[in-house]
Amino acid sequence: MDFDFNEVQEMLRKDARRFLTEKCPKAYVRKMEEDEKGFAPELWKEMAGLGWMGLVFPEKYGGLDMTFLEMAVLLEEMGRACLPGPYFSTVFLGGLPILEAGTEEQKQEFLPKIASGEIIVTTALTEPSGVYDPSGIETKATEQGDKYIIDGTKLFVTDAHVANYMIVAARTAPGKSEGISLFLVDAKSPGIKCTMLKTIASDKQCEVVFNKVAVPQKNLLGKLNQGWPLVERSILLAAAGKCAEMVGGAQQVLEMTVEYAKQRVQFGKPIGAFQAVQHHCANMATDVEGSRFITYEAAWMLSQNMPCAKEVSMAKAWVSDAYRRVVSLGHQVHGGIGFTKDHDMQLYFRRAKAAEVLFGDSDYHREKVAQALEL
């Protein structure tokens, strides 16, 4: 049992902290919220140069061959910094599904380009029904000669506007969880229309309409009609990744809040000397402590290739709620100033909600835990 980071992880953490402090100040975060792309390509290249995009890819695909634990360490720092841009999409919704389900040819084609920062990839999964369930997939892919023709509307597709490729989940046969297939779709294909959604976290989610979009057979990812288990796996990894981001955000909010409570004077003393405020801070610290280890337990199990669907769901269910509580109490301690657009607290508040609902909210994951308990 070891609750500390090892040397490699500690070095990664420090490097990421230093890099993001310098390159991703809150001014940059704010600017990117308004920016059409949502990230600076120069920064993207630098991140690729650090090996971040290929962190968990094998070396032969241009990666650093690290584990999900190191991934979690990096994501925690990204969450702390509110790093904008398509990192999460490209690695979790693009790279990892290809790494797990792609043919050797597909891996050779895509992974080195992802690792080098050359391409941006995302997954187009959810639809207007907004559920992470095969029943929510109405987009169809119809076989036509050596191609599949995709028709349908995808919603909440992160970073589709800048993606070079999208992994599209479409129905290829009737059924429940059977009959779903995944396709690697060139985002420039004729018939794709991408519209930016305005979202609470300004995190560049899109509506993507597929109108008779042709995809070559060779771009099928995984087996025909058997794509849903891959989607589930992808959601699982993304949920675990989101937890690590949330831990970083929650830690930062706690630190900001404690600092503020020490500085802000009312009634002749720092507000942090009042028990009402102290107890808010104590509750925040409790939620952060709880979030950290339930998250790292899941990340550790992933790093060991242990079956851990239940543990990831436990983490996502709990951390989603805990992060929201932490930010909400942080706001209460900050008072009016935290409610202004100029203050950094609102950046976390909005992101906490987005992180909560993405890849299954607490109810969704508690249901998964209940199923695992045979309830």
Binding site: M1, K269, Q275, V277, H279, A282, E289, E367, L373
Partner: protein
């Protein structure tokens, strides 16, 4: 980061489980929390029978130095021991002696005191109680009024303690008394050890919410305490007492006890679901049950994190009170979810032929009220997290 127990730790866990299985009567149900054994004769008797055996195994004071009867094993192993004892509802662990009095004596005791008092604790031969709280000194512990007047070779105690868990069972008490009434309140307190059989000590039972006698009032009427039983310097007892609060505080026993109860409730739900006899909407209940399973895992890592920090020789300033406040409040939430699952029958008390799960859910629902009060209320814990853990100024 590594969440696996070592092979040795896993083997140790199995060893404890085998011991428990061998020593507990067949069909053992036990009590919902270790303090219950103070209330029930049968439990108490079994606990006293088991204690020397646990002592002989070297498990009670496992993390203590060898010279004091310990085994110098890790805090993690100590926590594994406490976790399995609590989960399996096995009695016989004297928390006041092993986790509080013992470590205090190791740090502040004279060589003589260590020699006399530590081995019996490690062997499970003697049961201790804590004489801290008084009618006018609850959360404000430094307001103790019990007087200790220096008479040369001995102190004379007069006053009263309250909420003394196991006062009616204990052979010895460690206590705080005011030895200098004129000094500022934190400066005039002494820490001493009292033989409960000393003339002038009177223990009066207090009946708690579940009708049991776990805690007591203890009165001192001209009680003589030899100077040899003073721990630390005279009037320096506050430093001894506050250091004591920082020993062995994983709090795993709370989480493990609640997990046992929840496992029983979940088994009950599964069974009733099969027979279609569940009175509650399973779709609603399963969300709540899953939430409790998750929270217990959160609490479990909080507990082990405290041990981990202690193992490194560091102080879990924030982590120990976090584990206390979370674990104690979680016991109440778990019991409440259990009550909801049982619905109307949750009200039934022991003795009813209609009772479900032996009334244990109702028992924990009521008795766990005390968990957020004893050992420092949740409010005091939150003060500690904020001031000692986060460095916020004291109010």
């Amino acid at each position: 980061m590594n969440f696996a127990f070592t092979k040795e730790e896993e083997a140790f866990r199995q060893e404890i489980l085998a011991f428990i299985k061998q020593e507990l009567p067949p069909g053992w149900i036990g009590a919902t929390y270790y303090e219950d054994e103070l209330e029930q004769e049968e439990l108490w008797a079994l606990g006293r029978k088991l204690a020397p055996k646990l002592g002989q195994k070297g498990w009670l004071a496992m993390a203590w130095p060898k010279m004091y009867g310990g085994q110098e094993r890790s805090h993690i192993e100590q926590t594994i021991f406490k976790e399995e004892m609590a989960y399996n509802r096995a009695p016989g662990v004297d928390f006041a002696g092993v986790s509080m009095c013992g470590p205090t004596l190791m740090n502040f005791g004279t060589p003589e005191q260590k020699k006399i008092f530590l081995p019996p604790i490690a062997k499970g031969d003697v049961f201790w109680c804590q004489g801290f709280s008084e009618p006018e000194a609850g959360s404000d512990l430094a307001s103790v009024r019990t007087k200790a007047v220096d008479q040369g070779d001995y102190f004379v105690l007069n006053g009263q303690k309250v909420w003394t868990s196991g006062g009616h069972r204990a052979a010895w008490m460690f206590l705080l008394a005011r030895s200098d009434p004129d000094a500022p309140k934190h400066k005039g307190i002494s820490f001493m050890l009292l033989d409960m059989k000393t003339p002038g000590v009177e223990v009066r039972p207090l009946v708690n919410i579940v009708g049991g006698n776990a805690f007591n009032e203890v009165f001192f009427d001209n009680v003589r305490v030899p100077k040899a039983n003073l721990v630390g310097k005279k009037n320096d007892g506050w430093a001894v007492a506050t250091a004591l609060l920082n020993f062995e505080r994983s709090g795993i026993e709370r989480v493990a006890s609640a997990r046992k109860l929840l496992d029983e409730v979940i088994a009950f739900v599964r069974e009733r679901k099969k027979t279609g006899a569940l009175s509650r909407d399973i779709e609603v209940m399963k969300q709540k049950l899953a939430e409790m399973v998750i929270e217990l895992q959160v609490g479990r890592w909080m507990g082990y994190h405290v041990s981990y920090i202690q193992q490194k020789g560091e102080m879990p300033w924030a982590e120990a009170p976090i584990s206390k406040v979370f674990g104690s409040e979680l016991m109440q939430r778990v019991a409440n979810v259990g009550m909801e699952v049982l619905g109307l029958s949750s009200q039934l008390e022991k003795g009813s032929k209609w009772i479900t799960l032996g009334g244990r859910v109702s028992h924990m629902y009521q008795s766990s009220l005390g968990r957020t009060l004893g050992g420092g209320t949740s409010e005091i814990q939150r003060n500690l997290i904020a001031t000692k853990g986060l460095g916020l100024p004291r109010g």
